[in-house]
């Protein structure tokens, strides 16, 4: 019995270490083979809504507590797109930050409410450099509903 426990422990340890640096799969298997540049999606996002895409980019941010989203950098500077997954179905680890990811999913949009200055333009600050409108603004944001991913 003791020998069996030792054998299980050794095999477990080796298997964890042997595959530590390999690409990790999340969720469903990828079915698409051709990646769509993120810049192409962001340039005309509305036309991609409801379509399944495969995108590739660097993971630049991860949902800290639940691993329920990642932000992927685009092929062009200063561009990112969020990959949102159903809580618990896929959980992205914080260690994914900075790694390359191939993600398959469906483009969708949500309308978010931006924060207005509440009537006090001085709160807007110098950085925003736009005219205060004294009211909340709405913005349509495009994301990918992640179905499967490979991160390495």
């Amino acid at each position: 019995m003791k020998k069996l426990f030792v054998l299980i422990a050794v095999v477990s340890f080796l298997s964890v270490n042997l595959f530590a640096d390999e690409a990790k799969k999340y969720g469903s298997e990828l079915t698409l083979t051709e990646a769509t540049p993120i810049s192409e999606i962001l340039a005309d996002a509305e036309s991609f809504v409801g379509k399944k895409v495969l995108v590739e980019g660097t993971v630049v941010d991860v949902c800290e507590k639940r691993g329920c989203w990642i932000n992927l950098s685009g092929d062009k500077e200063f561009e990112t797109i969020r990959v949102k997954v159903n809580d618990g179905e896929i959980v992205f680890p914080m260690e994914a930050k900075g790694k390359n990811a191939l993600v398959e999913g469906e483009i969708f949009s949500i309308v978010t409410e931006g924060e207005g200055c509440g009537g006090d333009c001085s709160k807007e600050g110098e950085e925003k450099e736009h005219k205060c409108e004294h009211e909340k603004t709405t913005k349509k944001v495009y994301m990918i509903k992640g179905l499967g991913a490979v991160i390495k």
């Binding site: 660097t58 630049v60 507590k65 500077e77 990112t80 930050k97 900075g98 790694k99």
Partner: protein, 184 residues
């Protein structure tokens, strides 16, 4: 063999097997119950630093990365970097991210460390492995049901289910019902 003796024997041995998983699930249960108050999987540290000399944001990203890593004497190997705007850059290292605002020269080093025991427990409890683990977790759930049922028939007499035991069972059933009535 008498039925009560068999119940006690099975309850004891199934209980032994369920011990490890019960501890794991309980630890994780407490941890994820308070997910709004803390991060149950990671210890995330943030340190703010100031870049000693100004950085020209018109430099290439590669030149900025070199400048920053030299400024902060970071020798870790770089995984990748990303510019979210002309004046901000994130440099990714293993379990560490350096985010710098080139305009304000303020840099934040974020370190990520796995919360040992909790992270592993949550991984299993929330069924992140899926596959075969789903069946193990189901078997464990069935074992808990078995332990609950056999538990109430282990003792007979006034300390058993026919005695004061039934009142304790009633309390255990009423607790979730009361909270359902209050919050559901």
């Amino acid at each position: 063999m008498k039925i009560r003796k068999l119940i006690r024997l099975l309850h004891r041995d199934v209980g032994y097997v369920a011990f490890g998983l019960t501890i794991i699930y309980s630890i994780s249960g407490i941890a994820v119950n308070h997910v709004n108050d803390w991060n149950p999987n990671y210890i995330i540290g943030k340190d703010t630093l100031i870049v000693s000399s100004g950085i020209d944001s018109t430099l290439t990203s590669e030149q900025i990365v070199e400048h920053l890593t030299e400024s902060f004497s970071i020798t870790d190997s770089i995984k990748s970097f990303f510019r979210s705007s002309p004046t901000t850059i994130d440099i990714f290292f293993d379990k560490k991210t350096l985010s710098t605002n080139l305009k304000t020269r303020i840099a934040v080093i974020e370190t990520v460390e796995s919360r040992t025991v909790f992270h592993e427990s949550n991984f299993l409890h929330l069924n992140h492995p899926k596959k075969l683990w789903t069946w193990i977790a189901d078997l464990f759930a069935v074992a808990l049901i078995f332990l609950a049922i056999t538990g109430i028939f282990m003792i007979k007499g006034k300390k058993g289910i026919s005695g004061r035991g039934k009142w304790f069972i009633l309390i255990g059933i009423l607790i979730p019902i009361v909270f359902l009535l209050l919050y559901f």
